[in-house]
């Protein structure tokens, strides 16, 4: 033994073999590059900074929800209500700003009310799933319907307007750098920092083997609730980005985001069974979904083929992931 210890200290420290499994987002990066090339061929202006920034601005809401959704899925749960959280937050923000007269303070109050709404919605989901032990898919499907109803109750018809400063800022620049780039940087920093927290390990543990996590004395219930709250928070941020993009309120705006966010997460290499993956992949997954829509549009396919083509390309991207993983 003693003979070994001095020489083995180095070898024990780590295995440096590169393993694809440990970087599940890489495939999404590859698909992203491929789609960017295709997109640039079909749409020569694609690489111009202004176009890239405007693309990013329209992808940002899905990026944000998908990042939040990742943490729920990592813990082996799922959140089908995020799209409707977006709807509620959207109408809460717009109506609050209008009700308070559209001043700078009103805008801040509207944003704060929106974020609080998202957190509250996430808390409701978390309590139902983790404390009352309801089945996650059905629970968040049901709470999603409720959130959609609340959105319609607050603002029965699309309308309302936010002050010009909101959408001008979202489309504008700070210190010479477009705001959406600042946002993207903030999201990337968050993802990187959050992945190094003890909580992130706990999420993976809960998603990987809930019974073992409980026996290891992790506060499983609290961890699951927190993941839903994070998801609600990110849905709220997505709604704010949408307000910046559309500048008005629409109670039916969010619905499609629920399944898109899950698709983005899966495209990004996170396992639906939980315990494996990360938010960086989801970010690329969301961009991929946006690029696919772009490519379909610029390929000038007849309108009636667009859905078909979009579905097929998503399936192809998924098949690529399965193919690489099974090698």
């Amino acid at each position: 033994m003693t003979m070994h210890t001095s020489s083995t200290a180095g070898t024990l420290s780590s295995s440096r073999k590169f393993e694809f499994r440990r970087h599940p987002y890489l495939l999404a990066v590859g698909v992203f590059i491929l789609l960017s090339i295709v997109n640039a061929i079909l749409q020569p202006s694609f690489l111009r900074p202004a176009v890239a920034v405007s693309n990013l601005a329209s992808f940002m809401p899905l990026i944000l929800v998908a990042v939040g959704q990742t943490y729920v899925i990592l813990a082996s749960d799922i959140d089908l209500s995020v799209g409707f959280i977006i709807s509620v937050v959207n109408v809460v923000v717009v109506t609050t700003i209008e009700a308070l007269g559209g001043s700078g303070g009103a805008i801040l109050a509207g944003f704060a009310a929106g974020i609080a709404t998202g957190i509250l919605a996430g808390l409701v989901n978390g309590l139902c799933v983790a404390v009352l032990r309801f089945q996650p898919i059905v629970t968040t499907f049901a709470t999603g319907i409720i959130f959609a109803g609340v959105a319609l109750w607050i603002l029965p018809q699309a309308g309302g307007q936010v002050p010009a400063i909101v959408w001008r800022t979202y489309a504008g620049a700070v210190a010479g750098v477009p705001v959406v780039l600042w946002l993207l940087a903030a999201v990337l920093v968050f993802i990187a920092v959050f992945a190094r927290t003890r909580f992130h390990t706990a999420l993976v543990a809960v998603g990987g083997n809930m019974q073992a996590a409980y026996q290891t004395k992790l506060p499983v219930t609290r961890i699951r609730i927190t993941s839903y709250v994070i998801s609600g928070l990110f849905a709220a941020l997505a709604a704010l980005a949408l307000v910046g993009e559309t500048a008005s309120g629409d109670p039916l705006l969010g619905g499609a985001f629920s399944l898109s966010s899950i698709t983005a997460v899966v495209l990004g290499g996170t396992a639906l069974a939980g315990g494996r993956g990360g938010a960086l992949g989801s970010l690329f997954g969301a961009i991929i979904l946006g690029l696919i829509a772009n490519v379909i549009f610029f390929a000038q396919l007849p309108f009636e083929y667009q859905n078909l083509a979009q579905g097929l390309v998503i399936l192809l991207a998924l098949a690529g992931g399965v193919f690489v993983a099974r090698r």
């Binding site: 024990l12 780590s14 499994r21 190094r196 927290t197 543990a205 083997n209």
Partner: protein, 524 residues
């Protein structure tokens, strides 16, 4: 040799006050008493061996001490003060750690992440320094360096480790918790000799640091090597605590099975010649798989061949592989001397095999469906008809129900309304209706009442007279010995002994099951 009565704990070890005392602990699961009167007293700085046969209550007692489940009655005292643990967290907070038999590892996390899970040293109360985490883990893992095999690094994912490496991680994780009271529940079952020696080194260090250690194992040699005191359990009761130095293997097995007759004269593996005129129906040769290490056997017409030994030593795996539910990776199965391939349950049924599991929920009943459907299932599978002639099939299954003395409201009532024993009769009846030649019984009397058991024994005897051959695994040793013509004793996926004639006793069975491990290890 014992010079003093072995119940007196007046030897060298427990001079100090006990750190933990569990008294008169009782626990029932439904109608089954898992623990009737569990007692355990732990002194600081001792290795306390907990030993008992299948279902004697060891694991339940440990679970209660660890807060994984609550007792129905009884007290757990820590340093003299009674404690009520609602969750493992509560027990951990006062320094009780458990090394779980079924392991508590997260496959998707690395070795280092698993060892320190939930207890990571953090920066700013939030962030994990993964380099430091790996370094800390490497320092702990050095203990097993050289015996742990390949690819055993701090950043290796647990899902990539072999079974013994995972067990080592579970051990290191438990040790790193640094509890005052540490329970090791069968930590050595997947380890080889060198790994066990190094593990014992760790246990001795923990012992000299004043920790109280509970050690559960079914390898007699290990118990004597590491144990200071021993507590023997039988049928949910603690029957004695004594110094390891004062006890012999024979005495312990005698206490485990409830008689103090110690037969020291051990006739060496002498297979009693069977007076079997009948021909061999089923032959298995060197079946090997995940939990089978080369099992061979032959079953004669009209014979009940028992499969014994401790839980999970390959008995169920053998039956399931014969039935094609979990086919063995290697080996030959012959029926009537002809080599057959059992690719799945359907093929097994065609060959005249039937499998009845005691795990009714998983393997047996269609819950909420009528008794009729449950009874007729196997029979229907054999027929090729598209539509079911309910009246005709009823005529076929009713005599079976009668023969089983089944108590039920009507063929149309859901099976979930029946008692556990009667549900088990239905599952058995289903296979009898399909008229098999070879019956594979996988602990079929688990959790059923005495009367039903008696009915079943009578039925089994009757079936054998009719020429049926039966492979019978039971976790109830008494039942196994009384029902079987011969008993094969399993350990570590191998047949380590065959009992027949005069050797069909609980003593011989336990002797073989507990003492076998030395020979099994040699081949492992």
């Amino acid at each position: 040799m014992p010079s003093e009565p072995i119940t007196a704990a007046n030897g060298t070890i427990p001079r100090s006050l006990p750190v933990l005392r569990a008294s008169r602990i009782a626990k029932r699961y439904g109608g089954v008493t898992a623990l009737a009167e569990g007692e355990l007293e732990l002194a600081p700085g001792e290795v306390h061996v907990l030993i008992g046969a299948n279902g004697s209550g060891k694991s339940t007692l440990c679970k209660i001490i660890a807060g994984a489940t609550g007792p129905d009655s009884g007290v757990v005292e820590l340093d003299g003060a009674p404690r009520h643990f609602k969750a493992p967290r509560d027990a951990a907070a006062v320094g009780i750690s458990v090394c779980y038999q079924e392991l508590s590892l997260i496959p998707q996390l690395s070795v280092a992440q698993n060892i320190f899970l939930g207890r990571e040293k953090v920066v700013a109360r939030t962030f994990v320094n993964s380099r430091k985490l790996n370094d800390d883990a490497a320092r702990l893992m050095e203990r097993f360096q050289g015996v742990a095999g390949e690819n055993f690094f701090p950043n290796t994912l647990v899902s990539d480790l072999s079974a013994d490496q995972q067990q080592l991680v579970e051990i290191l994780k438990t040790a790193a918790e640094d509890g005052r009271i540490v329970i090791f529940d069968e930590p050595t079952s997947s380890l080889d000799n060198r790994q066990v020696e190094l593990f014992f080194g760790l246990v001795r260090e923990m012992k000299s640091a004043g920790k109280a250690i509970v050690f559960i194992s079914h390898r007699m040699r290990e118990l004597f090597e590491i144990g200071d005191r021993m507590t023997v359990m039988r049928n949910g009761r603690t029957v004695g605590t004594f110094d390891a130095a004062d006890a012999t293997e024979g005495q312990i097995i005698g206490m485990m099975i409830g008689n103090d007759i110690v037969s020291s004269a051990q006739s060496p593996q002498e297979k009693s010649p069977q007076a079997r005129s009948a021909k061999t129906v089923l032959q298995a040769d060197n079946l090997t798989g995940r939990t089978l290490n080369g099992v061979s056997l032959d079953l004669a017409e009209g014979e009940i061949l028992g499969l014994g030994g401790l839980h999970g030593q390959g008995q169920s795996a053998l039956l399931r592989s014969l039935f094609g539910a979990d086919p063995a990776a290697d080996g030959i199965i012959k029926i009537d001397g002809k080599v057959v391939k059992v690719s799945g349950p359907r093929a097994a049924m065609a060959l005249g095999l039937a499998y009845v599991s005691g795990d009714r929920g998983r393997d047996g009943t269609l819950s909420h469906r009528p008794v009729f459907e449950n009874l007729a299932l196997a029979r229907l599978n054999k027929s090729h008809a598209t539509y079911i002639d309910v009246a005709a099939v009823s005529d076929q299954v009713l005599p079976v129900a009668e023969r089983l003395k089944l108590k039920y409201a009507g063929l149309g009532s859901p099976i979930s309304q029946l008692s556990g024993g009667n549900q088990q009769k239905v599952v058995l009846g289903r296979w009898l209706a399909a008229e098999p030649r070879i019956l594979l019984l996988d602990d079929p009397t688990k959790g059923i009442d005495l009367q039903t058991k008696k009915d079943l024994y009578a039925l089994l005897a009757e079936l054998c007279l009719g020429g049926m051959s039966i492979l019978f695994y039971s976790s109830d040793d008494t039942e196994l010995l009384s029902v079987s013509d011969r008993v094969l004793v399993f350990a570590d996926g191998q047949v380590v002994d065959e009992l027949a004639g005069e050797r069909l006793t609980e003593f011989e069975l336990n002797q073989a099951a507990f003492a076998s491990s030395a020979s099994a290890e040699a081949t492992a």
